[in-house]
Symmetry: C2
Subunit: 386 residues, 2 copies
Amino acid sequence: MAKKTDSKRPEASSGSRTNARVKARDVETKRKLVNLADEFVTKVMAGGEPKIEIPTRARSNTLWNKKRGILEMGDARQERQLFNLNQAKQFMQTVLHASTIKDLIEAEKTSSLRGVFYKAKHTVAGTKENTFDDQDESDPILEDLEVALGSLREELHIFAENRGAMVGNITVVDKGDEIDCRRMGSGGYAMPSIVEPDVIEFKKCEAKFVLHVEKGTVWNRFNEDRFWEKHNCILTHGAGQPPRGCRRLLQRLNQELKLPIICLLDCDPWGHYIYSVIKQGSISLAFESTRLAIPDAKFLGIRAKDYVACGLPEAVKINLSENDIKRAKEIAAYPWFEHHRGWQKEIDLLLSNQFKMEVESLILKGISYVTEEYVPERIRKKDWLD
Amino acid sequence: MAKKTDSKRPEASSGSRTNARVKARDVETKRKLVNLADEFVTKVMAGGEPKIEIPTRARSNTLWNKKRGILEMGDARQERQLFNLNQAKQFMQTVLHASTIKDLIEAEKTSSLRGVFYKAKHTVAGTKENTFDDQDESDPILEDLEVALGSLREELHIFAENRGAMVGNITVVDKGDEIDCRRMGSGGYAMPSIVEPDVIEFKKCEAKFVLHVEKGTVWNRFNEDRFWEKHNCILTHGAGQPPRGCRRLLQRLNQELKLPIICLLDCDPWGHYIYSVIKQGSISLAFESTRLAIPDAKFLGIRAKDYVACGLPEAVKINLSENDIKRAKEIAAYPWFEHHRGWQKEIDLLLSNQFKMEVESLILKGISYVTEEYVPERIRKKDWLD
């Protein structure tokens, strides 16, 4: 069973990524890691205390940059000292993960968050103390390293779960393989977790915009109706809240190819939150906003006005729960929505409607109403919130 | 923005599926639907009671066919009568869904479970009674129709969420698009929900087996190491419990191309359950086993013996919870495991170990230990449970 096939791409058959850009990036990340370690050693040798300074990832240190239209991390920093009972464990965890990442870079391999957790998990020799008890302890340490090193998680060779798919008028090159997203059938191209330019390159692209939908089932309707072909676009979904890889790919399509990102999400606080994260970034990943946020992303619908505007039947209504109402009010108070007249109106109407609506309910106006009338008309009129 | 692109595949640009096999299948499904309706009408005209007979989908009517090695549905049937207060609503719901399906077939379109739910959801004229209150009422009615008509959900033009990805030494044709799974980069081909032969055709395939792993993160490790190229296979994952489309595609690879399906899952009751469903089918979809179950699927690992056999460190251990122990005992009592010496030993050892293990923990033996040593050695020795 282990017969080797004739490889048509010998340059990649070793599993290692050899392109020059990756190499340079990896050399730089490794240099930062080694520097970090050298600093400890130097301090200890000089009789000082080994410590790491880590920018504070917390709501209190998250700032809304109105001009740039994104969430950013402030200047607050915290120390992590080895000779401090409350910090010694986290110090050790940080160093352990830094060491794993160095191994990954040297091996030219990537690993999952869970893999890195396991790699560092062990009982400290001569004690009953575990380095990590569960992954919830491990993931934030990796985020600390991202901010402390100023390196993206992807640059640290760590990936998350793959989620989402893409089709449309674009060709991408993924690790040397040319993928024509115009010929991906009903399934589509599965978006990977790491989509940096050295992994994913954009080649020929005729598309004029990206339509991003929330769910795979909605994406199927658009793909089956070949919406992307008729309207010359790219069609993506993130299987709910889009993972980091999906957001980053959308941002690259927006920044590098200047494609508008048009979102079709549910008319409920969850849909609004997904849009908010795509647009401005999230608090937990504020240090990443520059690389993830898409300030000019557009919210096409479903809009609270649509019940009347589209003459939708009673059956589309789903009552708002107590929690929906609470969330809607929280979202309305986000600094980027707070002074946005369109969004204030939108959320007010959602609340006074007392019901939410899902994209899939538009089937009540016809199987392809959403692909043939609703979206094309809104795009033609530029009728969206941004 | 709505500029039309030059289509290189005009035969498919209308979004309709035109191949002859689909047409014939659709004609047949529609004939069954019309027959169902005609029967009601005939009965009413003759002064009789309109009713539908539906095979009973319940544990009590699920049989283990030892010879075939799959779960099957028994002969028990239940009536659904219009003139019975307890059954009238379900009768009406069944007829409503049958009508939506007829519409979908005539429009040559598919829809999601949620879409079909919305299509039928409304308040009955002149009353305050809703046809459906939520999707939990709707999905079972669609399964009833599947069994009553003897048509697969896919033949009824209904899809579920897409989940899972595939790479490897195979070319598939998906709705006319040729997809070379050897050149799908780091992302892979996203497996669609409907994978019947008229949607997905197998073309050139050199692969000698399929390695199916539980999670996308593990799949990434194997893809990055180009395991499928070195060992001439196909690599799939189902993002956890594999959805129907993924199971069906694996079964087709097994039946049509005679490829062994080798599963790499966690050493815990959840991993065992996933294997059990892939192999024998599930109770809720027993009527579908012939089309979904893969009786000769193999369980390669992680095995309970591996802690000792592979010299794994302490850190791989995760304590079994009360619920794990309960589930493990339930699974051991499944008729197809009950008299299987290997599986009895496996579950006994899991229970006496008192810990479970995940595939990802093998990183403790090295980043690529799982792809370079563990799996290749087990495959060479045919060391698996089946």
